[in-house]
Symmetry: C2
């Protein structure tokens, strides 16, 4: 089967995997909000390191409707986004839901709302950016999507979707512990994204410019690892070392949250950091550095409301 | 005795206490650097809640020279300030040195450089700001200077200086544990000054706008208290509660370090925060929130060197 797919949240990642699935022969529709006009008129132009992935969706919708085999949700999880309401109108009896989003503990709400539907969760390592309405550039060599049934286990749907993604030119890995894969991504995201934003858009080199900041990042990543372990998803012992070393090898790249901060866009504060802090508290794992980052990130967001008065 | 006093570092606090001492009949000279021209020409104009404290110094110097009864050092302790070299040329056989500066562990270097001189350490709670070259406004109702012999003990010199300050209209309290008084001020300064600067100039209300930020500030103040206690200077049990409550009562005042950040001026990072972190480590007191603030503040300072490249 190729099947029908509705991409909900047609930003960079949604357009990229939509293009991959279209190239694999799927019948791809999209819900586009801010970019509706451009996409309805011209479709998606997707320039990728794996070739041109431009495609014209079967349907371009302002809101979900119909019945699809797969509802592929690639939304940024910022405050006030009601995923459940956005997904509901596109569900038929056998529709599977795929959440390709950032953060940890981001599935529960959807799982509870739609208990009769298979829920897959996905962690994307592809780096793509929206250059203009309907125009997306995928600029990393990697295309990797890690996919798995939520909360765990094998899934024929995941296997079939992975085959389609590979047919379309992406790499895709199906795992039985997708939550563990989320924690692995959080080992970087939960620490470096907030640091980057709190610092006003720090690049990876800026974040590791002193021994003090390297020690801090290492200790904060170790807190993420301790929480993941307590939650039943132990990460490799050398995770903090490897994340630091990998980051030191990067060009001075500004993280997605740092870029959101610089652009004045909403940030995925709760999905990426707040949820991790809440899990730490629930499991009584000390995470003072994550709590520090969370408090400071909330203050930075609050400051956006207006400058403080200088007395 | 009224005696001769050299104010080194004629910023807001130096000019204010210089004015108080001049009004008490002391023979006050100053070392003025950036404001030399204005002060040499017109003296200091000091508007205070305790009246006009304007005065014309006996001598206005670009660098210390001569012999004074008291060298009153009111410098900001930013990177690259060599206090020892600045003080040395003004010392005669019986000169006492008074350090009225922010931070913790800020006396050792001076004590070691001048073992033959009495060293007093002072913590000022007066709020004053430099409005223009040679023009200072003291705008708090309080004028309090806490003064004591370093590292501890009674001091006739401190008692005499306190009498002069009171005669000039300020309040002054002599204590035998001046390091404890420093820790008490650090219970606020070491936490809220860095938060304010890291947040890009946050006001006191901004820093306590959510339950998360209140909990963070409370926990960070408790870390300062734990370090102070381990260092032999226990603070009252309710210190964190009181600092939070007092800060919540403030207008949305931006801390001195936050104002320095906003103005692009150097900050007293090491005196106010770095030294506290180092003492915590030396005494093996966990201080992860202070370490977080320190790492993030260093990153913020580094960022000043230039914006990160957005890849």
């Amino acid at each position: 089967m190729a099947g029908s797919v509705l991409i909900v949240g047609a930003g960079a990642i949604g357009a990229f995997y939509g293009g991959v699935l279209a190239r694999a022969g799927c019948d791809v529709s999209v819900v586009a909000r801010s970019d509706y006009d451009a996409v309805a008129r011209d479709g998606f132009r997707v320039a990728s390191t794996i070739g041109d992935l431009s495609f014209r969706p079967r349907k371009v919708l302002r809101a979900a409707e119909g019945e699809f085999d797969i509802v592929f949700v690639a939304l940024k999880l910022t405050r006030g986004v009601d995923r459940v309401a956005m997904i509901r109108p596109a569900l038929g009896p056998g529709t599977a839901i795929v959440l390709v989003v950032n953060g940890i503990d981001v599935e529960q709400e959807v799982a509870e709302a739609f208990p009769g539907h298979e829920l897959l969760s996905g962690v994307a390592y592809a780096a793509a950016s929206r250059e203009a309405p309907g125009h997306v550039r995928h600029h990393s060599q990697y295309t990797r999507l890690i996919l798995g049934r939520y909360p765990s286990g094998a899934s024929e749907t995941a296997d079939r979707l992975a085959e389609l993604l590979k047919k379309g030119g992406s790499s895709c890995q199906v795992v039985e512990d997708i939550v563990g894969a989320r924690w692995m991504k959080c080992a970087w995201n939960t620490v470096f994204n907030p640091i980057s934003a709190i610092g006003g858009g720090l690049g990876s080199k800026d974040m590791l410019a002193s021994g003090e900041s390297v020690a801090f990042a290492h200790a904060a990543i170790s807190e993420v690892c301790a929480v993941a372990k307590a939650a039943g998803h132990p990460l490799p012992e050398d995770t903090a070392d490897k994340q630091i070393a990998g980051t030191q090898r990067m060009a001075n790249h500004v993280s997605s949250m740092g870029q959101d901060w610089l652009a004045g866009r909403p940030m995925e504060t709760e999905a990426i950091l707040g949820n991790a802090v809440r899990i730490a508290r629930r499991l009584q794992v000390p995470a003072p550095r994550l709590e520090s980052l969370y408090a400071l990130l909330l203050m930075a967001e609050n400051r956006r409301r207006g400058p403080a008065e200088v007395a």
